[in-house]
């Protein structure tokens, strides 16, 4: 018979945390499925939103930035260039936002039943993956439409996608915990994400960043590394810059671990404070 022991005081990240999360993997999956269903159930266009959002944003950027300014687009059609950027960004921003609201949205659940609380932000980050894949499908279709065919480098696609998910989970996890204590997160996050859109090479190429800073910038900003890799792979048919991409994945995993530890430290207060 399982014995559960709880000692008072703040919680902390331990080996048991991972074992428990594994034990609750089916619950995590149930939440992911649920969020996907709930998100589109009451929307008329339904799952179409996953496509409309990045496409419209890419159109707007392509139109204004490239027609009326002189930002370089790496020698590919402007729409293709921005669409590749928006595909990753749309996922990252909406998954981060969904994850960071997850504890507050599900407060009724926090007060009524036990499960490891990180299941909620993690499911928020994972629920967006379906959208990401759909948007990626659109990108591929547009790529074909411009007469660019698939390349061997496409086998590397999972890496930037993984990077995006890890990064969204890292930010979403930490922000969701802070959001329980300070609802300021709710108001600050859209603004910060908007800044993030301009701080990341979504509507401009990574090459705009001065070369002495480029590598460290692309590693520390996971969205930059992911976006640049996506473009290289799909649009140009090249291999991504592996050292930068892998370093950024490592950095994001480190961030995720830190935010997980931070989350576990605050977790015990959630049901009392939410």
């Amino acid at each position: 018979m399982p014995v559960l022991e709880v000692v008072g005081g703040p919680g902390r990240l331990s080996r048991e945390s991972f074992a428990e999360l594994w034990h609750f993997r089916e619950v995590l999956w149930a939440f992911v499925v649920r969020q996907v269903k709930v998100r589109y159930k009451q929307a008329v266009v339904g799952i179409g939103w996953a496509i409309i959002q990045p496409v419209l944003a890419a159109l707007v950027f392509a139109l204004f930035l490239f027609r009326y300014s002189s930002v370089p687009s790496e020698g590919v059609p402007a729409l293709l260039f921005t669409l590749a950027g928006m595909t990753g960004w749309t996922y990252f921003s909406s998954a981060t936002a969904l994850a960071s609201e997850s504890l507050v949205t599900n407060q009724a659940l926090l007060r009524k039943i036990y499960f490891p609380r990180e299941v909620l932000p993690l499911s928020g980050a994972l629920a967006g993956v379906l959208d990401l894949l759909l948007a990626l499908g659109v990108l591929v279709v547009v790529t074909f439409a411009y007469g660019i065919g698939p390349a061997l480098s496409w086998v590397a696609l999972p890496l930037p996608l993984l990077l995006l998910v890890v990064a969204a989970a890292a930010f979403g996890n930490g922000l969701s915990a802070i959001n329980v204590y300070y609802r300021d997160v709710r108001y600050a996050l859209p603004f910060v994400l908007q800044l993030g859109l301009f701080v990341s090479p979504i509507a401009y190429p990574l090459s705009v960043v001065p070369s002495s800073w480029r590598t460290i910038y692309a590693i520390l900003n996971p969205v930059a590394a992911a976006t640049d890799s996506l473009r290289r792979i799909v649009v140009h048919g090249h291999w991504p810059d592996f050292p930068v991409l892998l370093a950024s994945i490592g950095w994001s995993l480190f961030l995720l671990l830190c935010s997980y530890a931070f989350f576990k430290r605050l977790e015990r207060g959630f049901s009392d404070r939410v």
């Binding site: 018979m1 399982p2 014995v3 559960l4 022991e5 709880v6 000692v7 008072g8 005081g9 919680g11 034990h23 609750f24 089916e26 619950v27 149930a30 649920r34 709930v38 599900n106 009724a108 659940l109 926090l110 007060r111 009524k112 039943i113 036990y114 499960f115 329980v180 204590y181 300070y182 609802r183 300021d184 015990r268 207060g269 049901s271 009392d272 404070r273 939410v274």
Partner: protein, 414 residues
């Protein structure tokens, strides 16, 4: 025997104040502390204060106490919905909990999905859950609503499904709060029956309720909590008795005889006397009791109509002595004096009663002194029959004791 639930020096403190803070407030607070303008003076509420007890496997255990004593917090700590500030909690086996209406349910999920989810959280396999599914649906009696989100359920349906989930998915430890009191009588009966079944199967039950009869008849052991501390621990019946006595005592204490006035007349004191005329604080059951109303009339009053009633907490007196009925009003009263009302051979069960009184004008029967509660009094003695809820039932039900006996005809085996 191993223990199913162990609390070791468990304390739980809540910081008072608003539920969540704005960053601004914390920054201002921190700055204030740094500059020395203002001390951190947040109010700390101790929901549990150094609580230790252990519940052996298979025991039926009750937590009693007034509102705010920490009972629900204890259940929440045992089910890991909230965490202790200090101390150690150990729980052996799967925990099913019904703490509030909707415990364990996701409002957006359908009834069916909730059954699945709860099973998964408890660590049951899909097959185990499925095999219990019909039983749960039948108990919850939600038939057609199974495919609707739980948020569209009525609170009664949520309650039934919540209890069915907690009590039918093989819990080793079942935690039940007074939430079931929200259900109708039939549902409450089925809940108590189900809890009894689980106890008989050797599961552990932790029950929180204000229904003393249910506790007395269902539980072996009780712990009384008050302001987060344990004040009694023992056989459920004894703890129920202690608790009810304590409630009575606090009633009597907080509301001793008071002086009431109106229309130039004051009832300054109400005293009790036995048959020899000596003053008493408790009435003896089955003996005469005299209620003495001490009055002060600032000017003479003609034909004041005195009334005295006995009440056991329900609406209206269950016994009344009224000069409006018996016509024995004095011709006149003035200055200081008293009026005695003697009840012969008080046929009341031992517990606390309310003594009500009022005085009317002889002409037109308008109130001189409003009809109101004058004091509490206790009928001494102990009732302790052999019935399953002897203590709680006799302390909370019909007050008048009539001698009775049971007889049996055909078709009764005895």
């Amino acid at each position: 025997m191993t223990d199913a639930v162990v609390f070791e020096n468990v304390s739980k403190r809540f910081r008072g104040g608003q539920a969540y803070r704005a960053l601004r407030d914390d920054i201002v607070g921190a700055l204030g502390r740094v500059v020395g303008l203002k001390r951190g003076s947040e109010q700390v509420v101790r929901a549990l204060d150094d609580v230790s007890f252990s519940i052996p496997e298979g025991q039926s255990f009750a937590l009693l106490g007034p509102n705010g004593a920490g009972k629900t917090t204890a259940l929440k700590v045992a089910s890991r919905i909230t965490y202790p500030t200090s101390g150690r909690v150990r729980v052996r086996g799967r925990v099913g909990a019904l703490i509030e209406v909707g415990t364990g349910m996701h409002p957006e999920l359908t009834g069916r999905e909730n059954v699945d989810l709860y099973g998964r959280i408890l660590g049951l396999s899909r097959r185990d859950v499925r095999s219990r599914f019909d039983e749960i649906v039948e108990f919850a009696d939600i038939g057609g609503a199974l495919e609707q989100p739980v948020k569209q359920f009525s609170s009664g349906m949520q309650l039934r499904l919540g209890f069915a989930l907690a009590a039918h998915l093989e819990p080793d430890v079942l935690l039940v709060d007074e939430a079931i009191a929200v259900g109708d009588a039939g549902f409450q009966y089925r809940c108590v029956e189900r809890m009894r079944e689980l106890v008989q199967e050797g599961r552990t039950l932790v029950f929180v309720s204000h229904n003393m009869s249910a506790i007395e008849s269902l539980c072996e052991r009780g712990v009384l909590l008050d302001h987060g501390r344990i004040t009694a621990d023992g056989p459920a019946r004894d703890v129920v008795r202690d608790y009810l006595r304590q409630v009575e005592a606090s009633l009597v204490e907080e509301d001793a005889a008071r002086s009431v006035t109106g229309g130039g007349l004051a009832i300054v004191d109400v005293t009790l006397h036995d048959e020899s005329g000596g003053r008493v604080e408790e009435a003896a059951p089955g003996r005469p009791l005299t209620v003495r109303l001490h009055f002060h009339a600032s000017s003479p009053i003609d034909e004041p109509i005195f009334e005295v009633g006995l009440n056991d907490g329900r609406i209206g007196p269950f016994a009344l002595a009224s000069m409006l009925i018996d016509g024995q009003a004095p011709r006149s009263i003035s200055g200081e004096g008293y009026v005695d009302c003697t009840f012969a051979d008080l046929p009341l069960l031992p517990r606390v009663y309310e003594l009500w009184g009022g005085v009317r004008h002889g002409a037109g029967f308008g109130d001189l002194v409003d009809w109101q509660r004058l004091r509490f009094f206790r009928v001494a003695g102990e009732v302790d029959g052999g019935g399953p809820a002897a203590v709680s039932h006799s302390l909370s039900n019909a007050p008048v004791r009539l001698p009775y006996r049971w007889g049996f005809g055909g078709g009764v085996s005895n």
